[in-house]
């Protein structure tokens, strides 16, 4: 009989462990050069290289900057932390503790989530203070920051399931996905201006819905509506988590 069953005390223990893992990751990895490079500087320069020189008011660029910052910062933590911990064998310390694997995954996801929230509010404040950005929907803004942050953190965790001890290997794979996402998700070219096939492709990008949600919160404009954006982001999150756990089981013999 399998006794690895769910109970309230076990859930509490797992949540406490997740929080301990997230706190530890924040202390150790947030100020590592690799994290700052891929999580902060990379999205900023990527955005500036495409936005500078465009004839658009600065305020209209802020939602895109927030989305791209959240994408890169949230998805960078897992791929930085997990391979590094594999290399120095501290990941085994987590795996051998009396906590569920989901607790470890949640802890690692929380690390990316909180990091990207902290980084994602910077362009928001810049917009609010200097460029006249306005908050049209506070709930939309909270959802537009939190749901993409969680979703992209699980995207990073999913890629980090590949059994390597080198963060660069994961970052390379991840960038093969992240870089095309920023061109097909309506950040630089509005979805409605894309050709038909482009609009279809955009529907398969979680960044499309993240950007749509932030645009709704700050400009009141939306293609899909905040409810659908939120639901699709949650579905992407569940899919990334599911695939990540399956990949980990497959690779960790």
């Amino acid at each position: 009989m399998n006794k690895n069953r769910f109970s309230a005390s076990r859930l509490k223990a797992d949540l406490n462990a997740s929080w301990a893992i997230a706190k530890k990751d924040m202390r150790i990895y947030y100020i590592k050069p690799g994290t700052l490079m891929f999580g902060v500087l990379f999205p900023l320069f990527m955005f500036l290289s495409f936005a500078v020189g465009k004839n658009a008011p600065a305020a209209t660029l802020i939602p895109g900057l927030i989305s791209i910052t959240i994408l890169f910062s949230a998805s960078s933590i897992g791929p930085m932390v997990i391979p590094t911990e594999r290399r120095v064998k501290t990941f085994e310390r987590l795996l051998s503790a009396p906590i569920s694997f989901y607790s470890i995954i949640l802890g690692k996801t929380l690390g990316g989530f909180l990091f990207s929230l902290a980084i994602g509010v910077i362009p928001l404040f810049i917009g609010l203070i200097w460029f006249g950005t306005q908050i049209i929907s506070l709930l939309g803004l909270i959802l537009g920051l939190a749901l993409p942050a969680f979703c992209f953190a699980t995207l990073g965790i999913m890629f980090a399931s590949f059994p390597t001890e080198n963060p660069g290997d994961i970052m390379m794979l991840l960038n093969i996905v992240r870089l095309p996402l920023i061109f097909i998700s309506g950040l630089y070219i509005p979805i409605e201006s894309l050709p038909d096939w482009g609009q279809v492709v955009a529907m398969f990008s979680p960044l499309t819905y993240a950007n749509d949600l932030v645009r709704y919160a700050l400009e009141g404009r939306t293609n899909y509506g905040p409810a659908l954006d939120s639901i699709v982001l949650l579905l992407f999150t569940a899919a990334f988590l599911f695939i990540g756990v399956r990949l980990d089981k497959k690779f960790r013999k």
Binding site: N2, K3, N16, K24, R27, T90, E92, I99
Partner: protein, 319 residues
């Protein structure tokens, strides 16, 4: 329930490679149990299965009666693990490493602070508790790793090569603590390459070779199984290492090994070898400064059971 560990047909395949082959053994509560074997014999894979880091391909094991597959978390709760590599967080202080591990094992704050203080004092690290461990020596990191393995007051401690490559001070502290823990009733599962360490530390040892348990018993009983391997150990005051070949020619000597400034002559008849050795010394004008007859060591048992032939391996290496 008298067993801390019960391995039942525990088996692990890595694709087609059979790393651990249906092994069965028990470790009794309160024992120091040595797990010996050459590199690649299956020691680490066995530990990884017992600590739920790797899933068995077949069979299972119980930790204090809890099945490692169906009651994984309950089984893990009893256990402290000290892996071969000291896996501490270099960017955290010694204190924070212990606090984090305590949180993972759900040790309450007041209890983990009390326990951390005790452990750091026990391992001589309390004065360095606030220093980041990246500045620690190998021995200090090893001591901290063991402290982290003990933060949850485990009833069973897995120690993988605890003193390998350490300075004398760290090795002595660790040996003392292991003995002390065992006296308090903690079961120790020890893997080591240092066979003499296993000989003087362990209540029982298992020797694993090519994924199978080759023998399992107390060190003294294992030695009795190869009484035919006895030896005469001699040191001369002015001998050159070149005399090894000549010593091998003494009647009834099977093999000669040089051990430091001593020569060890293996035989099944030490009395006859002593006579031959005396003749040889007189003829060659050599003065023996120490002479001992020795029974088989645990290392001899290990060599016999694992089929390790040091000379043959060295020859292969040279070629």
């Amino acid at each position: 329930m008298n067993n801390a560990i019960e391995s039942i047909n525990l088996t692990k395949y890595y694709d087609d490679l059979l790393a651990v082959d249906h092994i069965n053994f028990e470790v009794k509560k309160g024992e120091i149990f040595g797990f010996l074997g050459p590199n690649g014999a299956g020691k680490t894979t066995t530990i990884r299965m017992l600590t739920s880091l790797t899933k068995p391909s077949e069979g299972t094991a119980k930790i204090f009666g809890h099945n490692i597959q169906s009651e994984t978390l309950d089984a893990k709760r009893y256990v402290g693990i000290v892996p071969e590599i000291s896996n501490v967080y270099d960017d955290l202080s010694a204190w924070d490493n212990l606090m984090f591990t305590g949180e993972l094992y759900q040790v309450r704050k007041a209890e983990r602070e009390k326990r951390a203080k005790e452990l750091l004092e026990m391992f001589g690290l309390y004065d360095r508790r606030n220093d980041k461990t990246k500045g620690f020596s190998k021995g200090m990191k090893r001591r901290l790793t063991i402290s982290m393995g003990l933060i949850n007051n485990p009833q069973l401690l897995f120690l993988d090569e605890p003193t390998s490559g350490l300075d004398v001070q760290s090795a002595l502290i660790i040996k003392d603590v292991v003995r002390e823990l065992n006296q308090k009733g903690v079961t120790i599962f020890l893997t080591t390459h240092n066979i003499e360490e296993a000989n003087v530390t362990c209540d029982r040892v298992a020797i694993i070779n090519k994924g199978k348990i080759a023998a399992i018993d107390t060190p003294e009983k294992l030695k009795k199984t190869i009484q035919s391997v006895q030896s005469v150990e001699v040191a001369f005051d002015n001998a050159s290492p070149k005399i090894m070949k000549e010593l091998e020619n003494i009647s009834l000597v099977n093999e000669v090994r040089k051990e430091g400034d001593k020569f060890r002559l293996y035989t099944h008849d030490p009395t006859s070898v002593l006579e031959g050795l005396w003749e040889y010394a007189k003829t060659n004008n050599l003065k023996p400064i120490s002479l001992n007859t020795l029974g088989p060591s645990l290392e001899d048992v290990f060599v016999r059971l694992t089929g390790m032939n040091v000379k043959a391996e060295r020859r292969n290496f040279d070629e």
